[in-house]
Symmetry: C2
Subunit: 420 residues, 2 copies
């Protein structure tokens, strides 16, 4: 009997190093041919399994697979689709089993964040609940850095590096201009529920007066009066003020500031755009000339300046997932464990999926300064190693060479289609 | 009699490689000690001269000066201040001469764009008009790439590289997500009057279907119907659509789309923000889920991914300015001349300042595709060499090491202050 094949899928928001995990999975599976057959990737995540839309990664050359290491986003396509519970939608689970059985799939690797961990946990229980033998392993990935039991989440370190660098660079720009022009610069960064990404901007400040001067965290209720006073004090002291604002910044009632009722010329509500809203508030109240930037997808796809630590860890969790699988493990997640010593070190450990799914790791209050506008030395000690090292991609004609896979479909075996 | 000192100032919007020109000036001046004394930099540009607020660059170590090569923005501070004509404001010119005479300044190096070239030209005429011997040389710098007589303007190549890379990276991101989530991504880039920067994004597209799918240029009047049709066609064909929009995009009446009457919750007009306005229009008319980014200062300060070509040229124009000065030249600008061969080459030539000042180099219509939404092979041939090479800075603790100068003031010699 041939070795069981593996199913691999990317889920949720993509990152600069998500494909490095895919590379870790596929290269390691190829090294374990005796125990693991082919790796089939779901086109657009779990939806690819439901639609029987599988990609045969064995058709890709070793160099193409290796090229995934330096290619951002999700080479196989991702999706936002959360499986309901077995009770609510048994048809979806039955369909997964039909597809897996048709393609002799015995390993399920799901590469995503908190929601995906939950899906992966449900799939891991299919052996018991529906009598189909399957090992399900979750591979952590999320720029939100909010998975429990792992020191960090692959994808976060690279966003953190991008945001810290961009803050330092734009900070120098404003400092150059502020005598006669722009006094306030606002950079809006991702982080709907937690301030990890905004906190990383704090790494840019090494000396008194360095940008960022103010960080807005979702964890700290926005206080307009205190905020404006700090902006004014900073401009008076340093001539300019650089603000890094998490998109998830909330008012005291828990409403997102970014949904504070902006409307366009036609009266349509204008979502997103915390940065322009803050800029407008500052202009109105303090009169300062401002500039603002919204990094959006640029921050999470910035493979050109990915963190080497992050890249190594992304590869390592993919590799470990396959190794755990061939050891017969199920319902676990390879986790990044930080060493105890003063010098940063890490290794991969094993976290039970039941303890990972649907848990959010919040940023400790001790990472935020007492006034709520900056990070503490404790936060710096945690964050700094995660952005260490520059994992530059190769370039051709001045642009990064990102790999293009063939994405050869696996021939369909089932007659029925499935509507997702 | 000691050699005359030099005055150097940075002017207008700063760039990723402006300090490389400063480095070229200072290092070359140090190599010509017999003919050129000290280089005094104006703190915050020409304002520093008017206020007699000069920085003694001779107090900086060679390694600090060399560090300018890899430090973005304006290390001496820049300003937006255009000198009026001699007739309108003779006091300013008299003040300049007083300060220059007090500090034995015989060379004037002005590092800026079109407005600065005009100022520099006026200063170059002071020898004649006010009898003070002075050689004025303009050093080109502007991300707008709109100076005449030079093939390109230092600063532009690095923005072009950043924008092309960011477009490619974000394009892969949207392509990964589009099956179930974001269909349209809009990146707003700088370029108030010309589409050079937006055009550079076009370099990211190598094959059919690659991002960007639509570029909006200031040179092409925005046609809402045509634009929305193209967005829809692109999403239907490729599943997603990446739009790069120049902030200077205008409607048929010549009004900026970014000033199309956005108001915030308090009814304040909301300037800037073409990207959210376009996103809102697309959502309203076509219903697509969108994301948008505004790069703003991030694009022009992104020294972490500066173009090596751009960096080399920025240094070269600074170096050439000093060499021309010691040869006795006045009222000129070192220009970048492109070689005729098929393989890209360049050298420094000399452009008369009178032909540079107050002229804007527009992007040729032949660089824009017939439908107005992309670039032509001709544009690509022009742009591609300008983003070649990656001039990485050094890193420490995961962040670029940008130099901090001592900025030692030159003791004041004049009794009178001057209000700017």
């Amino acid at each position: 009997m041939p070795a069981k094949n593996a199913f691999y899928a990317q889920s949720g928001g993509v990152t600069a190093v998500l494909n490095a995990s895919a590379c870790g999975v596929i290269e390691t599976a190829r090294a374990h041919r005796k125990h693991m057959g082919k790796v089939y990737a779901g086109r657009n995540g779990i939806i690819g399994a439901l639609r029987e839309d599988l990609i045969d990664t064995s058709k890709e050359t070793p160099s193409a697979i290796h090229g995934l290491l330096s290619t951002p986003a999700g080479a196989f396509g991702s999706c936002r689709h959360k499986l309901k519970s077995l009770e609510e939608n048994p048809a979806e689970y039955q369909r997964l089993i039909d597809v897996f059985r048709a393609h002799n799939i015995g390993y399920f690797f799901y590469n995503g964040g908190g929601d995906s961990a939950d899906t992966c946990l449900k799939v891991s229980q299919l052996s018991q609940s529906m009598g189909y033998p399957l090992q399900a392993i979750h591979i952590p990935k999320t720029i939100d850095n909010d998975l429990p039991l792992t020191d960090t989440c692959p994808g976060f370190g690279s966003v953190a590096k991008y945001v810290a660098i961009s803050t330092r660079e734009a900070g120098l720009d404003v400092a150059s201009m502020c005598e006669t022009s722009t006094k306030v610069f606002i950079l809006e960064v991702m982080g709907r529920h937690a301030g990890w990404i905004a906190a990383a901007a704090g790494l840019a400040a090494e000396q008194d007066g360095d940008a960022p001067h103010i960080i807005l965290f979702p964890e700290i209720a926005f206080d307009r009066v205190k905020f404006l006073a700090k902006v004014q004090r900073t401009v008076k002291r340093w001539g300019h003020c650089v603000i890094v604002a998490s998109e998830g910044t909330q008012d005291k009632q828990g409403g997102f500031l970014s949904e504070s009722g902006l409307t366009d010329a036609f009266g349509h509500s204008q979502l997103g755009g915390l940065a322009p809203a803050l800029a407008s508030m500052i202009k109105q109240e303090l009169g300062y000339k401002y500039h603002w930037a919204v990094a959006d997808y640029l921050q999470r796809s910035a493979r050109h300046i990915a963190s080497q630590t992050d890249l190594d860890q992304a590869y390592a969790v993919g590799k470990a997932a396959v190794e755990y699988a061939v050891q017969g493990r199920n319902a676990i997640m390879p986790a990044i464990i930080r060493g105890k010593g003063k010098k940063y070190s890490w290794h991969i450990g094993e976290a039970p999926l039941a303890a990972v799914a649907n848990q959010e790791k919040k940023m400790p209050r001790a990472y935020i300064s007492r006034d709520g506008f900056s990070i503490t030395p404790e936060a710096r000690a945690y964050l700094e190693p995660l952005i260490a090292g520059e994992a530059y991609p190769e370039y051709r004609n001045g642009l990064p060479r990102y790999v293009r896979l063939k994405l050869t479909p696996v021939p369909r075996k089932l007659k029925s289609a499935f509507k997702v």
